[in-house]
């Protein structure tokens, strides 16, 4: 996982509430057995005018000119500005894989769906919750200022605007630690192997029917 410390990146807007993970990456691309290569199909159904299929040459497909990410001014964006309940629906981790593969490092929204929010942290992608009025201000700033960039400082938990405004955000300490250091949390959990075994021994006496029956 790519470590995340401080990112200063171009901001692209996605001005729509309840963006679901089906919209972020449609199901036909979930047939892949890999973790990478989903970026060209990020937001496929609103990004292109035709129906996308795996294996197509995406560079030859007709782009939807009204879709924000297709506008030259947002090329190379690293921060996605979104609305409430971003990432709702399916648990597919292909959604953060696609966002990360496209080049996004952070998403700012007033709220996120729970499973999507969790999945982001496993993939070097930082979801940031900011209040509605702040998100509104940022949408206005992005619309009125071409090349609008934000600095995201994870260590200090701050979003800094070009004008010098600072917005603080919350993040769980363990997730922050893993993201800053690019750590795999499986290795960290396995440091608790003894506690897990102790639990299993006790629980197997209390509820033996739970153990050892799918063979």
């Amino acid at each position: 996982m790519k470590p995340f410390t401080t990112v200063t990146g171009l901001v692209a807007p996605m001005d729509r509430s309840n963006v679901d993970t089906d919209m972020i990456i449609p199901k036909q691309f979930l047939k892949s057995i890999k973790r990478s290569g989903f970026g060209p199909n990020l937001f496929d159904e609103v990004r292109y005018l035709d129906e996308g299929q795996p294996g197509m040459d995406n560079s030859k497909r007709p782009l939807n000119p009204d879709f924000e990410l297709n506008k030259p001014r947002y090329a190379g964006a690293q921060v996605l500005l979104a609305r409430k309940n971003f990432g709702c629906g399916s648990s597919r981790e292909h959604a953060p894989w696609a966002l990360e593969d496209y080049g996004f490092r952070a998403i700012i929204a007033p709220s996120f769906a729970d499973i999507f929010y969790n999945n982001c942290f496993k993939n070097g992608l930082l979801p940031i919750v900011l209040p509605d009025d702040v998100v509104d201000r940022l949408f206005n700033a992005v619309a009125s200022t071409e090349g609008y960039k934000l600095t995201i400082d994870l260590e200090n938990q701050q979003v800094v605007t070009p004008e010098g405004d600072v917005f603080e955000f919350e993040v769980n300490a363990f997730r922050k630690h893993c993201l800053i250091n690019g750590l795999d949390d499986i290795g960290l959990t396995l440091q608790n192997a003894d506690a897990i075994r102790t639990y299993e021994t006790r629980r197997e006496q209390e509820t033996p029917w739970v153990f050892g029956h799918i063979r």
Binding site: S32, A113, N118, K122, D184, D185
Partner: protein, 477 residues
């Protein structure tokens, strides 16, 4: 000390250790796997040289992109026409063999949608923690368990450690009180709930569904309700254990037997919220207010009673919501103030982890019996949730009723719920669907989904447009 909620009890029973940052290491009793969200997790284990922590906790079955066509199924995995689907199903088979995970493979009679198979086999039981790389894992909460969907990284984490790092959710209780009128099903109840609290109403919460209307539901009905907890934003939905729960598991293949059964049942009976338990949020709804529900938009909260109308954006005060309604009506090709009953259907889909159990098929068949699918409907299909559901339905003659009416009778799988296989909507087509999501493009590029109960879908197939199933049952339709 205040009493505990059902969720508190399940959480406490599975806590391996608490961590300084307020999260906890939670032990996972049952892990279900399917072909779409597991390949990268097995690959991760391989790359790190790790083995599954325990084998006997995992159960796998391919469901998302298997064909539901009999001829294609009979040709086996090698006969799957879509090459990348074939690779994915083959990869699940190979991974299960290589790692030693128990799998119900594609043509095993026990195969089916993972959330139908788990309870049916007694592989998911009351009191367990249950996870799967699929958001509809909330289904299993119907039996008084803590069940929630996870991403692929967490699938790998569970395989490797049998645990997950979790932050405790808040407690919400939704009570539906009173008797459900004839024709009102679990699906109508849950769609109504989502319409009331919204698609993010349960975000951050574990929801306990309670009240006399919920108590009156069968296990199948409770599964339908909990299945769609995620559509209200809650990762986990649950219903307290009662005798309906315990009766359901008697004799299931993986359920405990003999003396062990008695011990288990005694424990399961403790899985209820204490009288003096407190909830962070409580919602009380009246069963009498619920009529058959139909979704008109592109989010599960966009629902109306069948006697109602498609909303008019000019009546929506909140700007953000109004924009959502305008956009949804445009995508759905509907007019403001159009009566719900005037919506005409091109296809009808009865299936999915929400509504493909035997009770659902019985309800649909009871409506269909003696009628024919309207000539304006291009396709009406029934996709049983598992091989065992299909076998049971055939033993009861339900397949014959459906076929005689012009329905297609298919092989088990997720099918048109998410259209990963060949079962999908064409652009602009309207579908009465018993599934769980009406998102843009969910059932096919440009497809228009209307979420309904099995009986409502069946009646819509016969009439070619939505009709009030309550009138049907009174013999007036």
């Amino acid at each position: 000390m205040a009493g505990k909620t059902l969720y508190d009890k399940l959480w406490d029973a599975h806590k391996v250790s608490e961590r300084e940052d307020g999260t906890a290491l939670i032990y996972i009793d049952r892990h279900l796997l399917h072909e779409v969200t597991s390949p990268q997790a097995f690959e991760g284990l391989r790359l790190a040289g790790r083995k599954p922590w325990r084998l006997d906790t995992n159960l796998a079955t391919p469901d998302h992109n298997v064909s539901t066509d009999l001829a294609e199924r009979q040709a086996g995995v090698a006969g799957i026409r879509d090459e990348i689907s074939r690779i994915q199903v083959t990869t699940l088979d190979d991974n299960c063999t290589a790692f030693g995970v128990r799998e119900f493979s594609m043509n095993d009679i026990n195969q089916g949608i993972v959330h139908v198979v788990g309870p049916e086999q007694g592989a998911t039981l009351p009191g367990m923690t249950i996870v799967c790389g699929d958001s509809h894992t909330s289904t299993h909460g119907a039996m008084g368990s803590l069940a929630f969907g996870i991403g692929t990284s967490e699938v790998e984490h569970v395989l490797a450690t049998q645990c997950l790092i979790q932050r405790k959710m808040k407690n919400m209780r939704i009570r539906v009180e009173g008797d459900l009128a004839p024709g009102i099903t679990a699906k109508d109840v849950v769609l109504y709930i989502i319409g009331q609290i919204g698609t993010a109403g349960g975000t951050g919460y574990a929801i306990e569904f309670a009240g006399s209307a919920l108590r009156s539901l069968s296990m199948e009905g409770r599964m339908t309700v909990c299945n769609m907890a995620i559509e209200a934003g809650a990762r986990a939905g649950m219903v307290a254990v009662d005798e309906t729960t315990i009766e359901y598991f008697k004799g299931r293949p993986f359920a405990p037997k003999g003396e062990m059964w008695d011990r288990a049942a005694d424990y399961w009976r403790t899985l209820v919220s204490d009288e003096d338990a407190t909830f962070d949020k409580e919602v009380v709804l009246q069963a009498a207010d619920i009529e058959p529900q139909v979704s008109w938009g592109t989010s599960p909260e966009m629902v109306a009673g069948v006697s109602g109308k498609v909303p008019n954006p000019s009546n929506v005060a909140d700007e953000d919501s109004r924009k959502g309604v305008v956009r949804a009506l445009e995508y759905m090709g509907l007019q403001a103030d159009q009566p719900i009953e005037s919506i005409r259907l091109d296809r009808v889909f009865i299936g999915s982890c929400t509504n493909s159990r035997i009770e659902d098929l019985r309800a649909a068949a009871a409506v269909v019996k003696g009628h024919s699918v309207a000539s304006s409907v291009k396709q009406a299909m029934v996709v049983p949730g598992s091989g065992l559901v299909k076998q049971q339905a055939e033993a009861e003659g339900l397949d014959a009723i459906f076929r005689a009416a012009g329905f297609q009778w298919r092989e088990p799988g997720c099918s048109m719920c998410l259209a990963m296989n060949a079962d999908k909507l064409g652009q602009g087509e309207h579908c009465a669907s018993t599934s769980n999501r009406n998102f843009e493009g969910r059932q096919g590029f440009g497809g228009r989904t209307h979420l309904v109960s099995p009986a409502m879908a069946a009646a819509a197939a016969i009439k070619g447009h939505f009709v009030d199933i309550r009138a049907w049952q009174e013999g007036a339709a």
